[in-house]
């Protein structure tokens, strides 16, 4: 009996399609405007929903009188706290951060208190937008305005206004008897810190701050919800996770999960900010009450006032090193704003702060602090850019004081395979050193600088995650295939899943159509976040393809009347092998598919996995700036971003992720911040006043892909979506320091702030 080894892919161990740059499968729809985003859906009889928001940063809601609004002709439903169920406390994951259902419920509709400017207090559904707006004006809310707190350090003070009377700091012994705004303390420690600092020849300690910044997705939140008389509910929305929207709506409204179907639209950016719900439960409740579909679309102002930015932070970093360049000890104190409800990314911030380095003695202490701002949401590598901005500044300063090139100093201390991370495990194969070497060896790193110009380098780390994913592959009658998956395509995952499925099937990617399905059409799949989709859902697609290949071999064996073991799969063809080699002409997928009905029925397979072993990501960025000493304006002259992708499935998309992360990080570094007035009202809720970088602000960002394969993925894939936003703030700050001699410690390093630092010789945010 002939035997043949079954292999996934093209059979010879090399990759034929993974690593190529085919046209993106969603490209034509998006450039022609045919793609349907969240606000594009309309249904017969659909009502217009609008949300009334608190004008106060902190206020007790004494009474809400919506009787006049309800009486207005054309108003079909009004929702206040009285129409929303009370939800008990329960923590659940949302991307890499955690959320509490009780808090989520109170965030989508305030109960006893409004906790930030923009907090939803009521919603209406009406036949027209004008009537809905008029109805909002008729709702009378009796507020008792309370003292508020915006800044994280002020919120930690004993005399600060307390947002939640039932919040007692976790993680300290004994548990405090009085409530505070500090939700929890986290702590990590390794080695002997005192010994490490005693061994140091030089010690640098600095304090830094960063501001909350918004993800800045171009598409505002939008939803259409329809609740039927039979209890069946449908939701269409722009989201990073249709299954999480389904679970959140079910839990917040007391509906069985099986009675809700959620269909994700195309998504105009999310970056973590669309892993939670704001409008969906409200629209669904309005639809339940009105008996008609309800559509709600946020304005840009609402996006800024009411949806989650990432945390702002206050950090103190202390590091010591020997004169020959060995870091001997590192200590960090971090406090992150969580917004109005607990759940900042303080924990990953603590875990990442020193991750690029092999440091024997380290300690990190972190605090999760509530303030009167919108509840934070995930934003690319949540928590890491904040803490690593601070740490990379101190690393750079030590290198300068020791007279060692900053890239060399980082290489001397870089994490590598076998390095034990502060949070516990030893790293497997990682590409920290490789990204540093690529940056140091780049042409960019040796270009001469002119007057008032400076160069900065910084390294960043992010874990990446795996998790639960499903994928189904259906083989069509003509041998083409459809791969169905459950992750909204936020950064090119249609292409990466398509390519991996094509590789495993051995057919060209244009023969594989990727489809993002609703919650009833594919098995549970965790949301698009954590840089997980190309890794985890890609593995599910590869698994499903492997099952399809098994079926294809079985069908060919039946047709040829030989044992299945004697059929191998290579380049999309079944081939007889062993003693049967040459007995039959190879049979294509199309030929086998054409006979599927006669050989056993349709050929299809589903894989459901909980993907483990996501490879950590490291990146190193080099930034050149020119500082205008008269205005404080910083111009980014050159920017090179190096990223370990494990294996770049579609290199163009990887480069896009790298460039996008760098651009967002540069905006975080130089301009972006929320500005509140003395009453805690947001003064810049729009893109004119909240200054994000546009194309004309930036040079071409040179993306360099390094590939250190992840041994836990069949093709070596690591996530790449998040790490690129970690190094930019420090790279820019280090470049400014190199240009001016002033260490900027407070973000953003905007023209007024830098000019003040230049005028003061480094005081006020610089030193």
């Amino acid at each position: 009996m002939a035997t043949a080894k079954q292999e996934i892919g093209n059979g010879n161990g090399s990759l034929k399609y993974v690593g190529t740059r085919p046209w993106r499968p969603d490209g034509v729809d998006k450039v022609t405007g045919r793609a349907k985003f969240g606000a594009d859906l309309s249904l017969p009889g659909m009502l217009v929903g609008r949300v009334l928001r608190s004008p106060h940063a902190h206020a007790r809601i004494r009474c809400i009188d919506a009787s006049k609004a309800r009486a207005l002709p054309g108003v079909k439903a009004v929702v206040t706290r009285d129409e929303m169920p009370e939800v008990p406390s329960q923590w659940v994951p949302a991307g890499e951060v955690q959320v509490n259902y009780r808090d989520m419920s109170q965030n989508v509709m305030a109960r006893e208190k409004a906790l930030y400017d923009g907090h939803a207090v009521a919603a209406v559904a009406a036949t027209t937008a004008a009537i809905a707006k008029q109805a909002l004006d008729l709702i009378e809310v009796d507020y008792e305005v309370l003292p508020h707190v915006i800044d994280v350090r002020e919120a930690m003070q004993a005399d600060a206004p307390v947002l939640h009377d039932d919040m007692f700091t976790q993680g300290v012994e004994p548990t405090p008897e009085t409530p505070s705004n500090v939700f929890k303390k986290v702590h990590f420690q390794s080695g002997d810190l005192d010994k490490g600092f005693a061994e140091a020849d030089i010690v640098v300690e600095r304090t830094f701050t960063t501001k909350p910044v918004h993800q800045g997705y171009i598409e505002p939140h939008a939803v259409v919800a329809s609740a039927g008389e039979d209890g069946q509910c449908e939701v269409w929305c722009c989201t990073q996770g249709q299954f999480t929207v389904r679970a959140y709506c079910a839990n917040l409204l007391g509906i069985d999960i099986g009675n809700i179907r959620v269909t994700p639209s195309e998504i105009g950016g999310g970056f973590g900010g669309k892993t939670v719900v704001y409008l969906e439960p409200v629209a669904l409740r309005l639809s339940q009450l009105a008996g008609r579909p309800v559509k709600i679309v946020m304005s840009r102002e609402e996006v800024f006032r009411a949806s989650g930015p990432t945390s702002g932070g206050a950090m103190t970093i202390k590091m010591g090193a020997t004169k020959d360049g060995k870091i001997t000890a590192a200590k960090a104190w971090l406090a992150y704003q969580a917004g109005a409800f607990p759940g900042s990314p303080i924990q990953p911030g603590c875990m990442c702060v020193f991750a690029p380095y092999d440091i024997e003695n380290a300690e990190v202490e972190g605090y999760d602090v509530v303030v009167n701002r919108p509840k934070v949401a995930a934003y690319r590598a949540p928590g890491a850019p904040i803490s690593e901005f601070a740490a990379e500044g101190v690393v750079d300063e030590i290198a300068k004081k020791l007279g060692i090139d900053p890239a060399e100093f980082r290489l001397m201390n870089a994490a590598k395979e076998g390095t034990r991370a502060l949070y516990g495990p030893k790293f497997g194969p990682v590409g920290c050193i490789e990204t540093l070497e690529a940056a140091r060896n780049s042409e960019h790193y040796s270009i001469p600088l002119g007057p008032n110009q400076g160069r900065g380098i910084a390294t960043g780390f992010w874990f990446n995650i795996g998790g639960e994913s499903c994928a189904t592959i259906n083989v069509n009658e003509d041998g083409t295939a459809t791969v169905i998956e459950g992750n909204p395509d936020i950064g090119g995952s249609r292409a990466s899943i398509q390519l991996q499925a094509a590789e495993a099937l051995g057919i060209p990617p244009e023969k594989v159509r990727p489809l993002v399905a609703d919650t009833d059409s594919i098995g549970y799949t965790f949301l698009t976040g954590g840089s997980r989709v190309t890794f985890a859902t890609g593995m599910a697609a590869i698994d499903a393809a492997g099952k399809v290949v098994e079926q294809l071999r079985e069908r060919a064996a039946k047709i040829w009347d030989i044992p299945v073991e004697a059929v191998e799969w290579e380049d999309g063809y079944a081939k007889p092998s062993g003693s049967n080699a040459g007995d039959f002409e190879p049979m294509s997928m199309a030929e086998i598919a054409a006979q599927a009905g006669k050989t056993g029925g349709p050929i299809a397979a589903t894989a459901s996995i909980n993907a483990q072993g996501a490879g950590p990501g490291f990146g190193t960025h080099v930034c050149d700036v020119e500082v205008d000493r008269e205005t404080g304006r910083v111009t980014v002259l050159r920017y090179t971003a190096v990223q370990d992708a494990g294996k770049a499935v579609h290199p163009s998309y990887v480069e896009g992720q790298i460039q996008g992360g760098a651009a967002q990080g540069i905006g975080w570094a130089l301009n972006e911040e929320y500005i509140y007035d003395k009453d805690g009202r947001l003064e810049n809720p729009g893109f004119l006043d909240y200054r994000m970088p546009v194309a004309s602000d930036l040079p071409m960002i040179d993306a360099v892909i390094v590939e250190v394969p992840n041994p836990n993925h069949p093709y070596g894939v690591r996530g790449v979506g998040e790490t690129p936003i970690v190094p930019p703030m420090a790279a820019v700050a280090n470049a400014i320091e190199n240009a001016t001699g002033i260490r900027m410690t407070d973000l953003p390093m905007s023209p007024p702030r830098l000019l003040e630092a230049l005028d003061n010789g480094g005081a006020n945010g610089g030193s």
Partner: protein, 101 residues
């Protein structure tokens, strides 16, 4: 003479210091197990109450590779099994704050 059977190799377990209240301060120990659930059960048998915290509040790194919600991942003899805070998820009733290695 009957040769003495060699003892089974044991997995080395590293616990975060936040769980030291269950273990009397022990943060490194050895257990015999073939998968993560076996490690958790062995630890629960020694330190009552620790199992729920490990299963619901922690991720696990086996020889450096992080697993979440993966009770049946294999643990080889002489593996290093390191519990660490979950990256995402969690339970406010759990102390997921400290790690000491």
């Amino acid at each position: 003479m009957v040769p003495t059977a060699a003892p089974n190799p044991l997995a080395r377990v590293v616990l975060p210091s936040s769980l030291a209240r269950y273990t009397g301060g022990v943060t490194e120990l050895e257990v015999e197990a073939t998968d993560i659930r076996g490690v958790i059960r062995a630890l629960e048998a020694r330190y009552a109450g620790i199992g729920r915290e490990l299963e619901e509040g922690m991720a696990v790194a086996v020889d450096g590779h992080i697993h979440q919600d993966d009770l049946f991942a294999a643990v080889s003899p002489e593996s290093e099994v390191c519990f660490l805070p979950r990256i995402g998820g969690g339970n406010e009733d759990l102390q997921i704050e400290a790690n000491s290695v």
